[in-house]
Symmetry: C2
Subunit: 776 residues, 2 copies
């Protein structure tokens, strides 16, 4: 018979003698019924500094086999330091693991318990409340610090409320105990374990904190510049050791298959802590210490560890610890805000991929903004996290599980739902034969972290994750994931398309498409009408300016002149879907409707000056590769300068009968600036037409000329898509915005094509007199 149905003795034993204040109880969870907030701590006797000294040592021998001894309760404690695989001395304190054997041998995983580490003693680390407010400190000392002791209690209570953990009232022998979470007792990490990740100086410094008074601790935390976002308390050392030790024990229990997976509800968090400094509420880097401890103890059985960090902050400490380690893959999803979000700087960007042997084993998914949702996180999991994780094929998965990206967390400002966390957990459970240990990091809204941790726990226990209704990732979410995908494709076989080399060593002449295209236009099609380049003296003269300004020779004559400032033509490109390479014939160049306007104008006897405004000016030392378009302000400045230059050199000095200005996209601002800065324009310019879609509309109001906006309103047509943000942002539309026409399409080419008749009819009307005079 394969079934194991022992009665259980649920001897949950723990001793919590803290600072001489004995809080021994049968079950640490009993303590959890009453919250221990800052006040509770204040009531403690702060005179004595005795460390934790658990009293019982039940059994010194390690469990002999999976699932422990026959009564379903396993005890283990320090394995002797002579154990071959490890030189770490285990703690002397007794440790009790309470878990049940797998209930049905044919399904060893499914019928094992999920492990839980929770110990209310970790609530003793909290911000010291001062009797007398600190005079130099502007912050109200009565406000509760977000890294609040209640955080772990809130989670524990949620698990209890969902009836996933045994109640103190459960009778011994109750068959329901089979199905509750298996309790793993917290213990303090040893110095040896901690110093696998941290320096001895750092360890001793944290140890020394208990020597200071509350006021000194306050002074240090608030007014010393070397400490970034931390507070200190007399209990910091013990709590931080307990937090790290709990992470170790959760991971060990998973590796040993005592439990199928586990969640460690611990604090203080760890992922910001660096080798030699506390940071961001963190002292010892719990997940790093646990990863190293398991690698040391289990050798080849736990060689490769994935640390998946969904805390909303970048785990700088974890990244640094394993930056050159090929056996620890660190993947972090976090708000980055271009380096302005905590912990600030560029370390969390997508370009930090590890170094040396660890190259490619560091994956940052840096959200450029807050506000990310389930769909963004799951998009990242589907396209980057899981492909990479599956290829890495870890022996153990540790989740740095901050719940500060959760809906409701004000610090994080994101909107991940409990279902979203559950979906991510479910995906991670496909790795490492299901060996997943979830360790709490940040998360500051008590309700949000409780709901989130509960959803994660239920998933660990085998429940299906909730369905996600909105699976539409945001634009910036997709942009970010694609950026990471492209970067990481250098290191992971499973990611396609591969990033293209930015330079080809054997290429001799590299030419950017816009330069070539304009040259081709100048030589070919445009040549039909006899347009020739106008000389433009420009300080930033480069290849990109050659042939950009073309004119009919008739621009010197007394006839209507159409001046067009437009965006470059479109190119369509059909890359090979896997390699990303493009064969020459799979590029298509499509001229924009400007050509139709030019054709029309020449046919009507107008002179034409056509100005192509490139989005990017090729640099003299161009290395090839992707460049973003130049900044919109830079492009407007360029168009403005060019418009002034052309006006002075080629327009005002000649004798056009009419001047029509036509602007398309960003360059239209150059023409408006021309009118604003040059009083002669209102006399000479007959009409100014603009087509604007995704970019800003520019207004025309003179600094000295009070009537300029009136003139502009009467002399302009401004075509704008009806859903342009202008219409929601500008409350009262004034004349300076010109004569606005709302369009259905938001595509510049479509707009220009669609309204060509309206524009050209207006030009014809304006020039009727001149055309009649020409005929006579």
């Amino acid at each position: 018979m394969d079934i194991i149905m022992d009665g259980i003795e649920t001897e949950i034993l723990a001793s919590t003698e803290l600072n001489g204040h004995d809080v021994t109880t049968l079950d640490p969870s009993v303590l959890a019924v009453e919250p221990l907030g800052p006040n509770a701590v204040l009531q403690r006797d702060t005179e004595e500094h005795g460390a934790f000294s658990p009293a019982l040592n039940l059994d010194d021998s390690p469990p002999e086999e999976f699932a422990g001894n026959s009564n379903g309760v396993a005890y283990y404690s320090s394995r002797s330091s002579s154990t071959a695989s490890s030189s770490i001395e285990r703690p002397k304190s007794p440790v009790v693991v309470v878990y049940k054997k797998a209930k049905f041998k044919p399904l060893p995983y499914a019928t094992s318990q999920t492990g839980l580490v929770y110990d209310p003693r970790m609530r003793f680390h909290c911000e010291p409340l001062l009797d007398v407010p600190c005079p130099s400190c502007p912050i109200s000392t009565s406000s509760v610090h977000p890294e609040d002791p209640q955080r772990i209690w809130a989670i524990y209570r949620a698990l209890q409320g969902a009836k996933l953990v045994a109640d103190p009232g459960n009778p011994v022998g109750d068959p329901a105990l089979d199905y509750y979470m298996g309790r793993i007792t917290a213990r303090m990490a040893t110095m040896q374990e901690i110093c696998q990740v941290h320096t001895r100086e750092h360890y001793q410094w944290v140890q020394g904190l208990e020597m200071y008074s509350d006021r000194e601790l306050h002074e240090m935390a608030e007014h010393k510049k070397e400490y970034d976002s931390v507070y200190f308390s007399k209990n910091t050392f013990d709590c931080a050791r307990l937090s790290a030790g709990s992470a170790i024990e959760a991971c060990r229990a998973v590796c040993l298959r005592y439990v199928k997976n586990a969640i460690a509800v611990i604090r203080p968090p760890g992922h910001h802590a660096e080798g030699n400094s506390p940071m961001g509420f963190c002292f010892f880097n719990n997940v790093c210490i646990a990863a190293r401890a398991c690698q040391d103890e289990f050798g080849q059985h736990c060689r490769k560890v994935l640390i998946l960090d969904w805390d909303v902050h970048h785990g700088n400490g974890v990244q640094r610890t394993f930056y050159d380690d090929p056996n620890v893959l660190y993947i972090s999803l976090h708000v980055h805000e271009d380096g302005n979000f905590y912990p600030r700087g560029d370390e969390g960007d997508h370009l930090h991929c590890g170094q040396g042997l660890g190259l490619g084993k560091n994956v940052n998914i840096p959200w450029p903004k807050k506000g990310m949702r389930d769909a963004d996180y799951l998009y990242a999991f589907q396209h980057v996290v899981m492909p990479i994780a599956q290829e890495f094929n870890p022996d153990l998965v540790i989740v740095s599980a901050g719940f500060d990206a959760a809906e409701g967390d004000m610090l994080g400002g994101c909107h991940v739902s409990p279902g979203g966390y559950a979906q991510m957990t479910h995906m991670l459970m496909s790795l490492a034969d299901g060996k997943v240990a979830v360790c709490l990091e940040g998360g500051y809204n008590l309700q949000s972290i409780a709901n989130s941790a509960l959803a994660v726990t239920r998933t660990l226990m085998g429940e299906p994750p909730d369905r996600i209704e909105d699976m539409h990732p945001s634009t910036i979410g997709v942009n970010t994931v694609k950026l990471v995908e492209r970067q990481q494709s250098n290191y992971w076989q499973c990611l396609y398309p591969k990033a293209l080399d930015q330079s080809s060593p054997t290429s001799i002449y590299v030419e950017r498409g816009h330069d070539m295209f304009r040259s081709w236009q100048a030589n070919g099609l445009w040549g039909q009408h006899g347009l020739t380049p106008l000389f433009v003296y420009n300080e930033t003269l480069s290849r990109s300016f050659k042939d950009q300004v073309m004119a009919t020779p008739s621009y010197r004559e007394h006839r209507p002149l159409l001046v067009i400032f437009h965006e470059p033509s479109l190119v369509k490109c059909f890359p090979h879907p896997r390699t990303g390479e493009v064969e020459m014939h799979n590029l298509s160049f499509a001229d924009n409707p400007i050509k139709k306007y030019v054709d029309w104008a020449i046919e009507q006897g107008f002179a034409v000056i056509d100005v192509n405004c490139p989005k990017h000016i090729t640099q003299q030392r161009d290395t090839g590769g992707y460049v973003p378009p130049d900044d919109e302000k830079v492009r407007i400045k360029r168009a403005t300068d060019l418009a002034a230059y052309l006006w002075d050199n080629y327009i005002e000095v000649n004798n056009p009968s009419h001047v029509f200005l036509l602007g398309m996209g960003v360059p239209h601002a150059g023409l408006i600036n021309l009118v604003k800065s040059n009083e002669r324009c209102t006399e000479m310019v007959t009409k100014i037409v603009s087509f604007v879609a995704g970019t800003a509309i520019h207004s025309c109001k003179g600094a000295t000329d009070d009537d300029l906006d009136k003139w502009y309103y009467q002399s302009s047509l401004v075509f704008v898509p009806e859903d342009h943000h202008f219409f929601t942002e500008v409350k009262k539309i004034k004349r300076r915005w010109g004569y606005l026409i709302k369009t259905h399409s938001d595509d510049l080419n479509t707009m220009m094509d669609h309204y060509m008749d309206q524009v050209t009819d207006m030009f014809l009307e304006d020039t009727e007199e001149w055309r009649t005079s020409q005929m006579n």
Copy 2:
């Protein structure tokens, strides 16, 4: 107390009176101990045609609530046809569902059972064995048909071997029964249920099969053209109804949460069966019938159904049934072989995406070849299947689970491991609140299907899927998935980059890149040396041929002539990662090293004819968009014709002192063909140099000239990468392959750059005399 620990009465009741041959037993699984092969069927009394007539009607009322009545056994049968949501009459036969309640209310899913439908009566459909061999039938009647009754038995036995199903020997009240699979009794689908998917004609035709003799059935199946890959038997109707009914009951039990999920070990399979015809071993389309039945019965609670088909064949019947249905998403992964793999034709290609309201709700992932592995399937799941499925957000997942893509299946020729199936199952379990019903389709290697189905079942029961070591998808796998991704990005928000429109309505002049580039070359850089286009009369003359042949005017003079046939230059293109759009300045054109050879030759006083051989000839009616390169044979023919034309018109008639031929890539074959077809060449050509990388090397052996290969060996240099398949495929390298030089690089540009000195030194040596004479 939240625990439910009732003793169970495992009354597994079934009656299998088949064709008057009573095989009633306490448990249908008992039958499974002895395989029923074709012989077993032959021994049956084939004179009587009585249908199945299960005898017991235990309870007529539907179960009142989830998890049935208090003794853990639920009975249900036909619900009255007056049930508001459904007009289907349920079968009159009693149906017994044996399952246990969820064992722990806080974890209703995790502690529920996985359902199993298996009924040995489905083994009675098998190919009739004839007493006297069929004279017109070349196939040996003694060979066992792959769709063998033992298939379902093999799977059942594997589940039993893994101790996942209760043994007949399990005592009533055995607590282990808690953990076994919950048995769901098979029943026959009703006519009404079947005719939701099939025509009445088809139903009646299958019903009529039992009227024929074995010989008549054989005749029909083997020699009537309208029947494609099926056999018929007297029991076909009953077995097919039982198979469809079992699929319904598995899905119903999942929808009703009687079980957490289920596997239906059924046959005959269904996914090829179309509305009005049997096909590919299939009669009634089990999964379609089950999907419709659940939609009818559960209304809004089961509106959206995902049918995921990992059978190695395309489920044409499923696709057709739901092609315009927006509420059934059909996703199929199958070998397609460009329409040559069963069921053949283009219906399984990636372009079939549904129609009408169902557009986008049909997703084919058509492998172009056999041999696909776990990594390919999981790549498809990660990048296409799961993103689409999550966005669709189904209420129920039905898996058309053929196991013929499994390692060991000769028909499928693929290599999916049990772990691969488990990983796919695990991913699907994140959907629909875990409501997954797996229904057997094909799969013909008994060991493979048993192992695969066992892995799937263990995953359904909560075990973690096995780790996959090799997560490196194949090139064709990635190509296929990317193709599907691009196609489906039109319909699914979650897929990026979006497919670009092939045409832009407002573009006026569309020019392909290779045409423009050559024009730019001709006008610009190449013009430095005074190269001008040579006139080429060509029947397929098009824009693509303009400027492709350029020559120094000196080609008419008595001096060395270098003739180069080369591939087009490279373009590098950096699209926006999300939109896939390319801004003009993010194209880079890189000339290939040909330019260096031309520069060198002109400097040495050589004449040059430079021929660019486009990979694609722009058609007169070019609609833009992606086109693959023209076929290699077509390109060789084009190069051969052009070489002959140039020889006749511009080379032989003039008076070069030497002729050097230089071929790069595919076009090099044109120069070799020139030498082979024209005897004058060996006299005039001094050297012929080829650079070949990923494409075929061409040999030079004359039909009439016995010494041609000798000449070629002495006059050639052929640069080939050392890992070119030529070196593994060609056993004995003969002179006709030329003077081969193995290169380290397999990149044509790098090769040409690296060996330029060697080539040009040879040219200098060959022309030393001439150059000396010129100096004098």
